[in-house]
């Protein structure tokens, strides 16, 4: 009996792999690496072969069971697996879980690390602890890949009118890092840049980028002569302070607002302060 169960488990895993291989090899734009032998918490690393810029990857974790399941059962069954994966995470790439059943050859998928779009035009990669299973087929794979591409479009800033932010050069040891050069582009709005100090803090950089995107989407005024620089510093008590300095390239006038790291978590909170800065720069006195 135990031997039978072991055999069943072996074949279940084999078939789950076979189904995954058939599904992924159905598209000729995917390069699939089997990582099941390594203890990375994922089974496959998939690279998209695309003309779009950057290395675009997503991960796949496999689960399978013999008996058929309903969506709600699948969601319940996979919850512990997602929680376990959350302990491996966060993952640097979008990650999905494929769930196969053997008796009826069903396939489901649920996001583990999901690219999530926000109202203010930004995206974040969020670890999921609750399963939200959907049928897995060629169309679902297309949707997964579209979602992955959207994430990298956002992440690499390849949207029209945007620029790729590269880490600024640092000066010699012991000297304060050189700030990124501020560049005015042809787009009809303000251009934001980020200091070296901010580029080194992922969470605050992401929050500042979200604020920038919110401002770009919300502010209808033509601001092509303006540049914004996000910086990170400490106040006299050693607390982190995030600053946003708006400069008019024509008049050379500038104004700075100071925020706490918590403030910039809320772009809607930052926006009124940005408008105050605009007034200071564009309508001084």
């Amino acid at each position: 009996m135990a031997e039978h169960a072991t055999e069943r488990a072996r074949f279940t895993e084999m078939r789950a792999r076979a189904l995954t291989n058939v599904l992924l090899s159905g598209r000729d734009d995917l390069l699939v690496q089997d990582l099941s032998g390594a203890d990375y918490g994922i089974d496959y690393l998939v690279t998209l072969r695309s003309e779009k810029p950057g290395v675009r990857q997503f991960a796949v974790e496999l689960k399978a069971t013999h008996a058929p399941v309903t969506v709600s059962t699948a969601n319940k069954v996979l919850k512990p697996a997602l929680q376990r994966m959350a302990r491996y995470g966060p993952f640097p790439y979008p990650t999905v879980l494929f769930y196969f059943t053997m008796m009826e050859s069903q396939g489901w998928y649920t996001w583990v690390s999901e690219p999530v779009s926000h109202e203010y035009g930004t995206m974040t990669l969020e670890m999921q602890e609750e399963a939200d299973c959907r049928p897995l087929n060629e169309n679902a794979l297309d949707q997964i890949i579209s979602c992955v591409n959207l994430w990298y479009d956002f992440s690499f800033r390849t949207r029209p009118g945007s620029k790729v932010t590269r880490p600024a050069r640092t000066s010699k040891a012991g000297v304060k890092p050189v700030k990124s050069e501020v560049v005015i582009t042809e787009i009809d709005s303000i251009t934001f840049d980020y200091s070296e100090a901010l580029l080194q803090t992922r969470e605050q950089l992401t929050a500042a980028e979200q604020c920038s995107n919110y401002i770009l989407k919300t502010c209808a005024t033509s601001l092509r002569t303006l540049t914004g620089l996000w910086d990170r510093d400490e106040d006299e008590k050693g607390r982190t302070v995030i600053t946003l300095t708006i400069t008019d390239a024509v008049t050379k006038k500038s104004a700075t607002a100071r925020f706490t790291p918590k403030d910039i978590q809320s772009p809607a909170h930052v926006y009124p302060r940005f408008q105050n800065l605009l007034s200071e720069v564009l309508h001084p006195g």
Binding site: E7, F11, R15, A18, L19, N21, S25, G26, M103, S105
Partner: protein
């Protein structure tokens, strides 16, 4: 750098592996396929039958995947096998089958390689898709072959 032919061949093997491990609503699948790798010239899989037998019966599979689709008149799958490979498969004392894979559709069709086949093959009939009915018949056929075969070596120079 893998070319398109390698890609189609690899995908063909994936499709065959997946079809052969189909549980078909049973507690265990009918077959346990073992890929033989690129270095094995004619055959691509050694496939064991899942049974309670002490020594599992097995058969050999040559896999051919194609993007060319079907012939217009007879609706046969366009897969090609050279005459010398056909003859080698027919001479094989172990049950040997050719499985053709329609790569875009991820469908597979099986034919046996036995009897008086000699010449090259340019297409195979699609009468036997690798579905539950075919898998059941295939399992029965191969098992019967091994049951009736007196395959034990009568004598050997290398006796213990």
């Amino acid at each position: 750098m893998a070319d398109a032919k390698d890609y189609i061949g690899k995908r063909g093997e994936f499709v065959i592996g997946e079809k052969l491990i189909d549980f078909c609503g049973r507690p265990l699948p009918f077959f346990d396929p073992h890929p033989l790798g690129e270095k094995c010239g004619i055959f691509d899989f050694l496939v064991e039958l899942v049974t309670n037998d002490k020594t599992p019966p097995y058969f050999l599979v040559s896999a051919k995947a194609t993007k060319k689709g079907m012939t217009k008149k007879s609706l046969e799958l366009k897969v090609g096998v050279k005459a010398r490979n056909v003859q080698a498969m027919v001479r094989c004392p172990v049950p040997a089958y050719l499985i053709g894979v329609d790569e875009p559709a991820a469908e597979a069709y099986i034919v046996s390689m036995h009897g008086n086949l000699k010449g090259a093959i340019s297409s195979i009939p699609t009468t036997y898709p690798l579905d539950a009915a075919t898998l059941t018949d295939l399992w029965t056929e191969v098992r019967s072959y091994w049951k009736t075969l007196d395959h034990k070596l009568k004598n050997s120079k290398f006796q213990m």
